[in-house]
């Protein structure tokens, strides 16, 4: 029996994130252009790469309709001039889609079925708003009624209620995310991975994350209105959640635009392959993918999946929490990150050290691949060994990926 091949990350890049509205810098850019720009960059950064050896392009997109519908992965491969033999597939694991793409690529490689895969994701949220693709859950009264569907913001507020996170607690976390992101940018910590978005003339459209609010304070955030209070009351969702969490008298609505992930446009791409594929293409491995895991928790509260997924990945790898040097948890909502750190017994000192999606935004289909790249960059900068990236996912799912520098 032959040995299971290892999967190595040879490159991990991303676009800067544009504010996800009509006034955002990337609103004028098609999602496919965000992807082709990154494919071009992979070729430029890895001049010896023979693109004929790429088996597949796996891209996460959460709202795969309109100009990011119809298998954007293969379309991008064609548009970027990759050989006709390079396939493309779009997948959707809600907010984890970008990391799911990486994990799927890992499975392709480790199974021995494929050698070299481009994996990442894209979401043009300003062009294709969240929810544009309908849905088998929220849009189906029969299913939603029986399974207690509530929008995830209600779940985030319920986490805060259950854990006793006050408005100040979540706002303090949000301010720290902003501070860290601003500092990381000032220190040039993302320089290696950010690929500016350019127009067809080669002019730069955006070269920095534009969602960050560097001067954010707890006082300023205190003035923002809770985002999910009215929806919870008038939409009936609080009642649905409380019927399940029957000991809770009322939900404390603490989340708002300033302590939740930002709506942005962006894309990310990684290059994953076997050792042999790397050698043949003159690639230098940056990290080995140690383990991946999916898990889940109650779909109504929806956002408590990261800890079970992280524990499952650790168990698979035969590692313990202490073996992980840095963590990246997607800051979907402040309470999600706070709860994950509490569940895992880890400190904020080693978690999201360069800020997260509250500051920089969460381009749904791309974020998973983005935070994995951020994690590897920081492991390298600090010369540390292992990191774990995780996200909460719709339907209560959680995903985790453990990487190790090589």
């Amino acid at each position: 029996m032959s040995e299971i091949p290892e999967a190595y990350i040879y490159d991990a890049i991303r676009t800067p994130r544009g504010r996800g509205k009509a006034s955002g810098s990337l609103h004028e850019v098609k999602p496919i252009s965000l992807v082709t720009g990154l494919i071009d960059a992979i070729r430029e950064r890895n001049p010896e790469l023979d693109t004929n050896t790429i088996d597949d392009v796996v891209l996460g997109v959460v709202s795969p309709v309109g100009d990011q519908g119809g298998d954007i992965a293969k379309t991008a491969a064609i548009a970027a001039g990759l050989p006709d033999t390079v396939a493309g597939v779009q997948l959707n694991r809600f907010c984890a889609s970008g990391l799911e793409a990486v994990n799927t690529a890992t499975q392709k490689v480790r199974s021995g079925m494929e050698e070299l895969v481009l994996a990442g994701g894209v979401e043009g949220m300003s062009r294709v708003p969240m929810g544009s693709d309908g849905g088998a859950w929220a849009m189906d009264p029969d299913t939603a009624y029986e399974t207690g569907f509530v929008p995830q913001g209600i779940g985030a507020d319920l986490i805060a209620t259950l854990e006793g996170y006050s408005r100040e607690d979540v706002d303090t976390f949000a301010v720290e995310s902003q501070t860290r992101a601003a500092k990381a940018w000032a220190d040039g910590r993302f320089a290696n991975s950010i690929i500016p978005v350019k127009d067809r003339n080669g002019l730069t459209v955006l070269d920095r994350d534009e969602h960050i609010r560097a001067g954010a304070t707890v006082e300023a955030l205190g003035g923002l209105k809770p985002s999910f209070e009215m929806m919870g009351r008038d939409g009936g969702f609080d009642a649905v959640a409380l019927q399940k969490y029957h000991w809770v008298e009322k939900i404390d609505h603490v989340h708002h635009a300033g302590n939740s992930s930002g709506i942005v446009d962006g894309a990310a791409l990684t290059l994953i392959g076997t050792e042999a594929a790397g050698t043949a293409n003159g690639l230098i491995p940056r990290a080995r993918i140690v383990a991946t895991a999916l898990s889940g928790a109650d779909p109504t509260i929806m956002l408590t999946g990261p800890a079970p997924a992280a524990r499952k990945a650790l168990a698979k790898a035969g590692l313990s929490v202490e073996d992980i040097d840095l963590f990246e948890i997607n800051e979907a909502f402040a309470a999600v990150a706070l709860r994950f750190m509490k569940d895992m017994g880890i400190s904020h000192e080693i978690t999201n050290v360069n800020g997260g999606a509250i500051a920089m935004g969460h381009p749904l289909g791309a974020t998973g691949a983005m935070i994995l790249g951020t994690l590897i960059d920081e492991l390298e900068r600090r010369d540390l060994r292992r990191g774990l990236a995780t996200l909460c996912v719709g339907g209560g799912m959680g995903i985790a990926t453990i990487v190790e520098r090589v």
């Binding site: 849009m139 569907f149 939409g235 009642a239 000991w247």
Partner: protein
């Protein structure tokens, strides 16, 4: 002469085919086999004779247009009958579909009330003419029996009115609309003053609209008002529909509204015929399920039995009072005065002072003002109502009263005294009623001069809203008095149940077991909010601790003490309830006596409930929420049903209908169960399943879940739960 069919047609002089619904076997048309077979022939005939007719008018030879589904048949359908039900309803729908698509204009003359299946027939016609007459209503009330309009009602209403409008105004609550409202909604297209005029208008429309042979939804480019789930405007709010439904139902197991919503939304995304199939499958699930049987039993069969006088003695002639004396103008007396005046009777409202009596009348003044403001009544009618109420502090004003209803403080001596005073002035054969909720009627009767004419008339608060009156027969109460009390109750448009005298009668006694069970859970350390959710999700209209606060903690304690004394005096052994110490501590140690005292299980600010008192968790350690919520719900339902069986065994209750309807209308037993006795019949496994589950509860929670031997015996023999008729 051929035998008369349930549906017939003939061509009139203008070439209009007049289809007449006229079931020979009944005074009202229903969707029975006879209808289905006759309608099949008629519709086939119409299609064959299409070239000879200019159009169709559907009308009825009965007082009402059409009564609706055949509930006997639907109730009999078991879990294995889904296939048969789908077939049945598919044929009904195919006939109506053919009627609306065969190529001639079809109008309906809704000469009287059209509900359920009746309105569904009408919805399959191109033009509906209603009659704007008193008592006529149009609607689809299937949901109130745990069903959905499965004859195309969901599909057509959704297409016609849109998902949100149709669901909220027609389908989800089953509103019975007055003709003007039905016109406004579009359920009917025009109104006529009489049934004859409705028929003429329907004919005229057919003659004037020879090309109008399709429904709007069958025309190209028709859009459902408000859009479908693929329309962004609807998609944005659609997820709130099921959530708000859950909020409204509080998690109670009532599948009909959910199935209606699902059929409406799913149907809106496909063509008419496919939508119709989807509707049929959701319908069959409800028909074959237990909840529709429970609700049909209670709200159709039991209610009809009660209103039909099952518990009224046959002998005495129908009676109605002319002048009512109400003694005591407190909250109950004030409400009783209002409903009696509303019925058109003169009312003398007597209290110890004129001021107190005026205050009692002011309650009616408030209700009238509100009614006028909301357009429910006119100033003229309201003034007349108030004019019939005479407040007084003088017994002499009771002259000529043919009924006395006493609603003074709960004291045997006081009550007997007011009857003695009243007797000096009222008619010598006046009916004597006490609105006591706790005192034995037989005992009270001993202090009045005519104990045979004395009866309990237990109203529920608020009287103007609560639909039930519990009539209590004392040992001496005669048939004449019972019949009068029964007729009086129907006269004020309330539902009478008849019980025999016993401590707490039926309703107070049974609701007490529910409340005690909820409070006992605090003693077990269960989180109070979990207890509230358990009662809400069981389907009770008010959460149990909230209800206890409303009723005050001191009243049940007083009743408990009296009961204890009674039991001990009779040589029995008093068994304390695990809820006792919780109530005692709240009252004695923490001075929390309920809402009226501003502190109870809840905290209050200016009389408004704010939150559960944190002391329940801190002082009583009630923090455990790692519990089986369903089991908590079942404990509440079981304890009430078991107590009811005892009431039957002791002769307090004599009919199943009184038990079921009394429990739902009087003390908030969940409607989906069909009532306290139907809950046992409908429990998985029937009475035997109920007994087996009760035994499990007994093993865990104690002797109070011991089922009476009578129930155990009957369940073992596969009989119904009790011997009640």
């Amino acid at each position: 002469m051929t035998e008369q069919k349930a549906v017939r047609w003939e061509k009139d002089a203008d070439g209009i085919a007049v289809v007449t619904l006229d079931d020979p076997a009944s005074s009202a048309n229903t969707m029975n086999d006879a209808y289905r077979e006759a309608m099949r022939e008629v519709v086939d005939d119409l299609e064959k004779n299409k070239d000879d007719i200019v159009g169709v008018v559907v009308t009825s030879a009965k007082k009402t247009f059409f009564a609706g589904g055949n509930l006997e048949q639907l109730s009999a359908a078991g879990p294995d009958d889904a296939g048969r039900i789908v077939e049945l309803v598919t044929e009904v729908k195919a006939q109506l579909r053919k009627l609306e698509t065969f190529g001639r204009p079809v109008a309906s003359a809704l000469v009287g009330t059209a509900l359920g299946g009746g309105l569904e027939i009408a919805l399959a016609t191109h033009h509906r003419v209603g009659v704007d007459a008193k008592g006529v209503v149009y609607g689809l009330p299937e949901v109130s029996l745990g069903l959905l309009p499965g004859g195309g009602g969901v599909t057509r209403v959704t297409r016609m009115l849109g998902i949100a409008n149709g669901f909220m105004n027609v389908l989800a609550q089953g509103q019975r609309h007055k003709p003007a409202k039905a016109l406004e909604l579009g359920l009917v297209d025009e109104l006529a003053a009489t049934r004859e005029e409705a028929f003429d208008k329907a004919r005229a429309w057919v003659l004037a609209n020879p090309e109008h042979t399709t429904q709007p939804w069958d025309r190209p480019k028709y859009r459902i008002p408000g859009g479908t789930p693929s329309s962004p405007s609807l998609a944005a709010i659609l997820p709130a529909f099921p959530a708000n439904l859950r909020k409204t139902l509080k998690g109670a197991p009532m599948p009909a509204p959910r199935n209606i919503l699902a059929a409406a939304v799913e149907g809106a995304q496909v063509d008419f015929d496919t939508a119709s199939k989807i509707e049929g499958r959701y319908f069959a699930e409800l028909v074959t399920g237990q909840v529709s049987k429970n609700m049909t039993k209670a709200f159709f069969f039991d209610l009809n039995a009660i209103n039909g006088g099952k518990s009224r003695p046959d002998g005495p002639a129908k009676w109605q009072p002319t002048k009512v004396a109400v003694l005591g103008a407190g909250m109950m007396g004030a409400g009783i005065a209002y409903v009696c005046s509303l019925a058109g009777w003169e009312v003398v409202l007597k209290d110890v002072s004129r001021e107190a009596a005026d205050k009692g009348k002011a309650y009616s003044e408030g209700l009238v003002a509100k009614g006028v403001q909301r357009g429910k009544t006119t100033q003229e009618k309201g003034d007349a109502l108030l004019g019939r109420i005479t407040p007084t502090d003088d017994y002499a004003d009771l002259e000529g009263c043919d009924v006395v209803i006493e609603a003074v403080f709960e004291s045997v001596e006081l009550k007997q005294e007011v009857f003695r005073e009243a007797a000096k002035h009222i008619k010598p054969d006046a009916l004597l009623c006490s609105n006591t909720s706790t005192l034995p009627i037989t005992e009270l009767a001993k202090g009045v001069d005519r104990p045979d004419d004395f009866i309990g008339l237990h109203f529920f608060s608020p009287v103007d809203k609560m639909p039930l009156v519990e009539i209590i027969k004392g040992e001496r109460t005669n048939d004449e008095a019972l019949a009068k009390a029964f007729d009086l109750t129907l006269g004020i448009r309330k539902t009478p149940i008849v019980v025999n005298d016993s401590r707490g009668f039926f309703t107070s006694r049974v609701i007490g077991t529910f409340i005690n069970e909820g409070v006992a859970m605090i003693a077990e350390g269960i989180d109070p909010q979990t207890i509230e959710q358990a009662s809400s999700q069981a389907g009770y209209p008010a959460p149990v601790l909230q209800l206890m606060d409303e009723l005050t903690l001191t009243l049940p304690r007083k009743i408990r003490e009296e009961t204890r004394k009674g039991v001990e005096a009779a040589g029995g052994t008093w068994t304390p309830h695990p809820s006792d110490p919780v109530i005692d501590r709240l009252v004695d140690e923490f001075d929390r006596k309920g809402k009226s005292s501003g502190a109870g299980f809840y905290e209050y600010e200016n009389g408004k409930r704010t939150r559960l008192w944190p002391g329940l968790r801190e002082q009583f350690g009630a923090t455990n929420h790692d519990v089986d919520l369903h089991e908590l719900s079942e404990r509440m339902l079981f304890i009430e049903s078991i107590e009811t069986v005892r009431c039957v065994d002791e002769g307090v209750l004599t009919t199943v209908a009184d038990a079921n309807i009394g429990s739902i209308f009087g003390i908030g037993f969940p409607a989906w169960t069909g009532g306290v006795l139907q809950y046992i019949e409908g429990y998985p496994g029937g009475p035997a399943g109920f007994v087996a589950r009760a035994d499990e509860l007994k093993a865990t929670y104690g002797e109070r879940f011991e089922v009476p031997q009578s129930l155990r015996d009957r369940a073992a023999k596969g009989e119904s739960a009790t011997a009640a008729a």
